[in-house]
């Protein structure tokens, strides 16, 4: 049931970011209305449909958090998600993940955490700065450097 898998994967991502199912339902709803409105923007030459759909869902979830101006309390460390998968089977997806994990592993610990907190939980630069007790400008440069290093590592 391909359809079910896609919807469930996207819902899982929404739950992960907003932290609870009821709000994730709203996010998924927003997302599919956005998909409806923006179907004309999608082009397979610009990346996978799954990537496109996931980006829409993640942005809707992030907007939801920003409107709420607060986030769920309990969060597992974002690294746990990577480790949990790495322990699993070696699918094609697993190979891609292990490359990404190796490249993330080449980053310094704090910048890596900043990147993962942003991607996995939708943290803003300000929230990461508060958590790390550093200025927002530091987070910006961590993320900028991490992006450059990740790109070199992943494409190299």
């Amino acid at each position: 049931m391909l359809y079910t898998q896609t919807a469930a994967k996207l819902f899982g991502v929404a739950v992960r970011i907003v932290g609870q199912r009821e709000e994730a339902e709203e996010v998924l709803q927003e997302s599919f209305v956005a998909v409806w409105q923006r179907a004309g923007d999608y082009d397979a030459a610009r990346g996978s449909a799954t990537g496109w759909l996931t980006t829409i869902v993640r942005h809707c979830a992030i907007d939801h958090l920003r409107r709420r101006a607060g986030r769920p309390e309990s969060r597992s460390a974002p690294e746990d998600l990577l480790l949990k998968f790495a322990a699993g089977e070696s699918t094609d997806r697993g190979a891609e993940l292990s490359v990404l994990q190796r490249c993330l592993g080449e980053l310094d610990e704090q910048p890596r955490r900043a990147v993962l907190l942003a991607y996995v939980y939708g943290f803003t630069r300000e929230e990461i700065a508060t958590g790390c007790a550093v200025p927002v400008g530091t987070i910006k440069s961590w993320i900028r450097r991490s992006i450059e290093r990740l790109k070199r590592c992943l494409d190299g």
């Binding site: 391909l2 469930a8 179907a39 799954t50 993940l97 991607y119 450059e148």
Partner: protein, 233 residues
């Protein structure tokens, strides 16, 4: 801002995907990618580079009421905006459709386009999408309405005349067998027995005389085709 600087473009695309852009900058950047294919490709590439992180997140079944709510927010009878860059028109997309896990999500969108008033639990399961030669979907096969049945209907009304009919064929190993005549009006479905549609089979629609092909094989041009994506219950 100088969006033509490749380094800046990469940085903005990655920050867009990471989600660290302030809301207003993100909206501005979204307007840019709508008109700038190079930036749009950079965004797609970053989404795919980081996507493996999501494989560590458990999937969760969304409740059917989500789709009811989506339905309620899409104006009844409306059609999605005409694709500028070929979501529907892209051949590469349709080639990928038969194998990629995104098939059914696309199917949902096509389903929404074809039946704006009929979304709701149980969620529609897309059996096949038949595209014409330019890659535009013309027919969609979904599960139901009864168990063991598949419903095939036109995504948009097909040009109709009294001298022709549209006949559906199932093709296994290159050998076509007739599955019945389709209804060219949008929203009107033909019912096919699910057992006649093994997954991986090719479905095709040909133009035939009003009563269907007299020979048991297609006699007119093949107008659209698509693969059976899942086994209907």
């Amino acid at each position: 801002m100088r969006y033509d600087d490749p380094e800046l473009r990469e940085l903005l695309a990655a920050e867009y995907v990471l989600g660290t852009m302030p809301s207003r900058s993100r909206r501005r950047f979204e307007r840019l990618i709508a008109s700038n294919p190079v930036s749009a490709r950079a965004v797609g590439a970053w989404a795919d580079r980081l996507a493996p992180i999501d494989t560590g997140t458990p999937a969760e079944e969304p409740p059917g009421r989500v789709w009811c709510a989506v339905e309620a927010r899409i104006a009844p009878g409306s059609a999605p905006p005409a694709p500028a860059h070929g979501w529907f028109g892209s051949l590469a997309f349709w080639r990928g459709l038969a194998v990629a896990a995104c098939a059914a999500a696309a199917g949902l969108i096509i389903y929404v386009a074809a039946f704006p008033g009929r979304i709701g639990p149980p969620t529609p399961e897309v059996v096949a999408v038949l595209a014409d030669q330019s890659g535009d979907p013309s027919w969609i096969a979904i599960v139901g309405p009864q168990r063991g049945e598949v419903s095939v209907s036109a995504v948009r009304a097909q040009a109709e005349d009294t001298r022709h009919s549209f006949e559906l064929w199932g093709i296994t190993g290159g050998a076509p067998r007739p599955l019945g005549l389709l209804r060219p009006q949008s929203g009107s479905a033909a019912i096919i027995r699910a057992a006649q549609l093994p997954p991986g089979d090719l479905l095709a629609v040909s133009l035939e005389p009003p009563e269907g092909s007299p020979t048991g094989l297609p006699t007119g041009p093949v107008l659209s085709r698509g693969k059976v994506l899942l086994t209907p219950p």
